[in-house]
Each structure stands twice: as C-alpha cells, then as structure tokens.
Symmetry: C2
Subunit: 195 residues, 2 copies
DNA sequence: ATTCCACTAAACACACTGTTCAGTGGTATA
DNA sequence: TATACCACTGAACAGTGTGTTTAGTGGAAT
C-alpha cells in the first residue's frame, strides 16, 4: 500500500503551503527565503526541494489550485440565465457560489492580490476571467449587438470592473455577504448590456 | 558652476533607467541583477549605488516619476465639464492629453504593468486613480445620487474598468489613437452615471 | 529480513548583495 | 598654474541565499 506515503507527502506539502501563506502576510515574496519556509513548516530545507523546484514553483502551484477551484464554480454560471432570473428578482445561486468560494479562500486571494506581492496573480486572474467572459458571451450573439466599443475592450472593461469589485471586497475584509456581492455583480452585468 | 556635475549625474541616472527598462522587457524584475544593469549601462556596479539605494529604489523612483507626470494631466480633467462637452459631441482635449501621455510613456507602462513584473504598480496606479476619481466625484454631489452600490465599490469598479481599458490598449500595442481612447472613456463615464 | 521511502543534517560551489577604499581624470576655483 | 572637487573605477570584503549532493535515520511495506 502506497497510500500512507501519499498521505505523508500530502501533509508536508500542505504544511509548506500553509506556512508559506502565513509568511506572505507579513513579508514580501522576495524576502521570504526557502529557509524561512522550512523553519516555519518545521522541516529540513532539503525536504522543501523534494516537493518543489523552488519558491516560484510553490507559488505557481498554489495559484493554479486556487484558479482550478474557481473554474469549477465559474463553469456553472450562465449569464443569460442569470439575467432572466435577475429580471424576476432572483439572485442566481451559481453567482453566489462564486463569491462563496472566494470568501472561503479569502486568505489566499488577499495575499496573492495584495500589494506586498508579487509576480502577477492579478494579471493571471484577469486573463482567466476574460477567457470565461468571452467564451460565455460569444455563445450569446445578442450580447454584443449594438456595442459601440470593440469586443476586446468590452471584455477587458467588464472583467476589470468585476475584479475591481472583488478586490474592494477583499480590502474591506469581506464585510458583505456573498449574496450581496452577487447582487452587485448582476447590476454590473446590466450596465454592460446597455453599452 | 555645478551645472556640469548635475548634468553628469542626470545622464548616468538616465542611462541606468533606460537600460533597466530594456532589461525588464526580457527578464523578470527579480532576475535582473545590479550587475546586469551596470553592464548594460556601461558603468561600474559601485556607481549604481552612488545613485540608488538598490534596484527597488530605482524601480520606485521610476514609477513615482511616471505617476507624477500622469498627475499633471489628470488634474486638468473635470468630469462634469467632460460630460457637458461630450453631450455636445465634443471630446475634451484634457482627456485626450491623458491618453497621449500614456502613449508617450508606453514602454514604461507596458513593462511596469506587464505580467513579468513585479511588485505592485497595478495596485499603485489603481489607488492613484481611485483617489482622483473620488476627489473629483465628491465635488459633484449629483454624481452619486441614486447610486444603489456603496461608494467605495463604485469607485473601485469605475477605476478598475478604466484601468482595464488602458491595459487593453497597451496589450494591443496602442493601435488606437488617444482620441479614440478618450471617446471610449467618455462612454464609460456615461454608464457609471446611469448606475 | 530487507527493501522502500520520506526525511534529516551537513557540506558544496555559486551568485548576488551592499560597503569600503585607494586611485584616476576631467572641471571649477583661487 | 596649483589645488581642491567630483563622478567614477576596480577590486576586495563579509554576508546571505541559492540549488545540489551525500551519507545516514527510522518507520512502513513486502
């Protein structure tokens, strides 16, 4: 049975990731050394290199995981359905779930999007949203009808605005509920529609 | 006469800044060493430290200069005047000037906002815009009338959307003219107004 | 019993850091 | 013309972090 070893590996990796996140709350990414991480996680520095290529690899994998989780929730979102529901006064559960996921991983989002750090999670997140936005919108031909602004500018505008909303929420220590955030999001979708 | 020495200093600083920007087009900020900069600028590594504390200081000063230049143009912007002009079918020259400034310094904006880099110019730029937006909007009491979204979310939304527009422009290698960009900007202002 | 595996501890060469210090050559000043 | 000034050079310095390697430990699987 190899499951025991798998679990050992998983536990050390989790310890490393968790402690790394804690360190990033105080220190700049560049000023966090592998030794710092090892000490915080109570492991040998060499052990770190048995699990990750370097600290960039660690960061990259953590960001990747975060985005993968987000993707699952985002796939369920259907903007046209969202709008028809909103017109009836309902708030789509799928939209709420997206914000709930962000709430659940607020620590990571705050750290990765924070000004202390780092190499470009914002850009990565934006690209991620742009792709989803365009993909969904392209399926709905009516959406771009009457748009007086090029599509790429429209999507960059829309996703940046959405991201701005999320960033403000994170900066506000998430005092609003996911439902309240979802309602704001719907309002924004309506504006864009009137473009 | 000390002007000769001032000019010497200015020239080396400019050489350093110019070569640093070139290096950042290819390499990550963290992977650019002081030695790399010195070699590219054809100076001794020690000379670098006669002008800057370290490479963070260099980056910081360059960002600061860029924002200072932007501020001059942004101060002239009067959103209410912009809107009344736009209603008459005119595009405010001041708005065009802002985009012209960005066009003029496209290299720096592209590098500092690029995903290769770095520590948070995006955040800095956004904060800069938020402050200007709020300052201008607060003077115009009518602007927030009927807003169904909290002011901080509104400003974060608006400035992120504007920044998204600029980022898209930079990603598109600035194929649009500053005037075209200013017109898009005016359209966005109109949307927000209808919030 | 022995092979396997995650992990440790220590050492390695290397790169980059920021500082120092004696020296060079052009520029301004008296 | 002498000399004081100034930006800059070249070389050395200790310090810190890097990624890799090596021999060894102890528990789990076969």
């Amino acid at each position: 049975m190899t499951a025991v070893y798998d679990e050992m590996n998983a536990k050390t990796r989790e310890k490393i990731q968790q402690q790394f996140l804690q360190l990033l709350k105080d220190k700049n990414f560049m000023k966090v050394s592998v030794q710092d991480i090892a000490t915080a996680a109570n492991i040998n520095r060499g052990t770190f290199y048995l699990h990750y290529l370097d600290k960039y690899d660690l960061l990259d994998q953590m960001e990747e995981n975060l985005l993968a989780g987000l993707e699952m929730h985002l796939e369920l979102l259907q903007p046209d359905f969202l709008l028809s529901e909103a017109a009836k006064g309902h708030t789509s559960n799928h939209a709420v779930e997206v914000f709930r996921y962000i709430q659940l991983n607020a620590d990571a989002f705050q750290v990765f999007l924070g000004s202390n750090n780092h190499v470009g999670f914002h850009k990565r997140l934006k690209l991620f949203f742009v792709e989803h936005f365009l993909e969904k919108m392209m399926k709905n031909e009516n959406f771009f009808k009457g748009a007086t602004v090029p599509h790429d500018y429209l999507s960059s505008f829309a996703t940046s605005a959405f991201l701005g909303l999320v960033e403000q929420w994170l900066d506000n220590e998430l005092v609003e509920t996911p439902t309240e955030m979802a309602e704001m999001y719907i309002q924004i979708i309506f504006f864009i529609r009137n473009l």
